[in-house]
Amino acid sequence: MEIAKKIKENFKAVKISDGEIRIKKNALPDLCRFLHESGYTHLSLITGVDYTDERGEFEVVYHLYSYSKKDLITVKTAAKVKGAGSKTRGKKTEIPEEIKKKVKDCIGCKICTKKCPQEIDVKEVIFGLKEGKDVDPGVIENCSECGSCEEKCPKKIEILGVFEMLKLGSSGGDSGGSDDYEMPSIPSITHIYNSADWHEREVYDLMGIEFEGHPNLRRMFLSETFEGYPLRKSYPLTKKQEVNINAEFEEDEHLLDNRLNTLQKQSGTGLFHLNMGPQHPSTHGVLRLRLLVDGEIIREIYPVLGYLHRGIEKIAENLNYTQFIPYTDRLDYVASMINNAAYVYAVEDLMELEIPLRAEYLRVIVMELQRIASHLIWFASWPMDLGATTPYFYTLRDRERILWIFEDLCGARLTLNYFRVGGVTGDMNDAAEKKLKDFLGIMPEMIEEYEQLLTENEIIIGRSKGVGYLSKKDAINYGVTGPILRSAGVKYDIRKAHTYSVYDKFKFKIPVEKGCDVYARYKIRMEEMRQSLSIISQALDGIPEGEIKARVPRLITPLKGESYSRVESPKGELGVYMISDGSQRPYRLHIRSPCFCNLSSISRMCENSVVADLISATASIDIVLGEIDR
């Protein structure tokens, strides 16, 4: 690699191994600046990983991408924490009475150990408990709860019940939270990449890593009154905290008042504070925007997120690989199939699986159908925000046809859970195929009809041309992807740039516009629907016979390692970064949400525009709060 050589020349303390760069934290900003200057202008994601138990450090991972070289680089740095690593070790814990009662009959015959398909030393655990020894719950991590140990036990001990108690005891309760070490810190790179702003705040909020030099390091999703950092391994998943709304308001007011005063002094005019959301018809969910306005002109925007923060990344660490697929449906719920795909590709990448061709064709068909469905929802809601209700009825009528096809394929309409590691759940059947062909016949005409409604409509043009302007330079710097990036003239679509699945077998175009505004995004989405239709009909013609699922073990245990899979969702680059420690559950899972990154550009997009244009611009980003807040 050319860039690797250059980095080695310029930086001393770096380790480079296949696309991954490890660097000391102090040299990180210099390295990032160097990479930025050598073309790696797109900061795809920043995320933190908690290794305090193993190595006594937090790792922060950066993915940088170069549009010109089509190359992705992973940069890793670590922040050591003082006093971690030894926190709960060596402390002898009392064995609860209930467990003692259950294991008191154990004679240590080892039958259970022999019967265990996962090769867990069950006898050691149960007999150990009887003897009063300290048992590490990590030993039973791989238990598949098959029950064969219980069946053969001569003393009829409820082994699974004991295991469950052990697991609960280790993950839940108050005993887990000992974060008595200092806050780890890492230099911020917000001065190089604008998109780092939100990413760093997210890491700070959930992982508790401080970024030195960040201009505005506050909580991103959780309330300011929240105690602790949920993605740390020491925070129990089930520990809930109520929110004091008044304390939150005070915090808010304080922050905004300060800013308001400084702005007022600068401009000399009377500014005021306008609150929009979280209950607002055109925020597409529960987004809250705090605006500082000068009459009708917006001076500054402070988005507040997290009203739908469900902690999906934490949940993932507590479920096995197959169990997590339904949760991906509920991220970007208007494009479930594509979320499924991003996740499943990440797991398959770790397992190095070969997927049957028929399954890949089916995947492409459903993903493209889902892209159309998602754009249709967008086409229903954007004009509605501007006051036109007709498109809503037109598009939802046609979207229903797609849902019927999904229903025939997998039985669900919205949260589909159609993908599996290794393939898909249902084969194409006659009913679905007929509906699909009907749909392909009707849809081109319908898209014409939609365009007749809006493309030359004077009101629509007035409210979208030149509105929400985001230049090419800004778009790249804010990490924006998808239709918004393409509306700024960057021809980047992951389906072409880094082909996944079987997209290389089909002919399709990537629509690009140069308008940089809402109207350009509208044009792009319309054209994308047409291209998707063409992909579907090509796939339907070329679909081969064969299996729809590779042979995969019931319990998926990928090798130790990490993967980053990216797919082109209707909103942009959807990435899943996954770290496996060789067990049945992911060690860490991070979702790079396109809406999250795209929304971060809203303050740039709507600077000095009128309030009414903010509505149009927010809608043009096509936000889905489920994915932003996760």
């Binding site: 998943l237 709304i245 979280p278 739908l308 939802l396 919205l414 949260t415």
Partner: protein, 163 residues
Amino acid sequence: MNKKLDDSIILTTIDKFLNWGRLSSLWPLTFSTACCAIEMMVAGSAHHDLSRFGMEVFRATPRQADLMIVAGTITYKMAPRVKRLYDQMAEPKYVIAMGACAISGGPFNMSYGVVEGVDKVIPVDVYVPGCPPKPEALLHGIMKLRKKIENERKLTEKIKEWK
């Protein structure tokens, strides 16, 4: 004279009359947090057509609405806002908890950020299970609510109180 009166006079109780008025034009609040909102949107669209029940006017402000369809997950950060919105609605008001999340926290109920059901925050009249429920299921829930309203005796109870 009698013949004319036969055609134009209906005898009923005031309670029944008021109930009929209420149930025939329930105005829902545009309140949606997650996935169920999309199915709620679909319920309002051409195929399922909520206007059959006189409720196609989704109101953006709670002051004009008398039905809150809680469609989606409620987090601890959102819960005080839900309470506030509910308080702002004018009496008589009704709540439908749509989907597993609004009923019990659904698949997310173990998570640190999620309230285990909206009934921990506000009273709920009808629960519609599903993840998400189909639009037909939501319509069924609405019919159940209409049944409930039909049997209410709000005025009679008030009069009893006065006595």
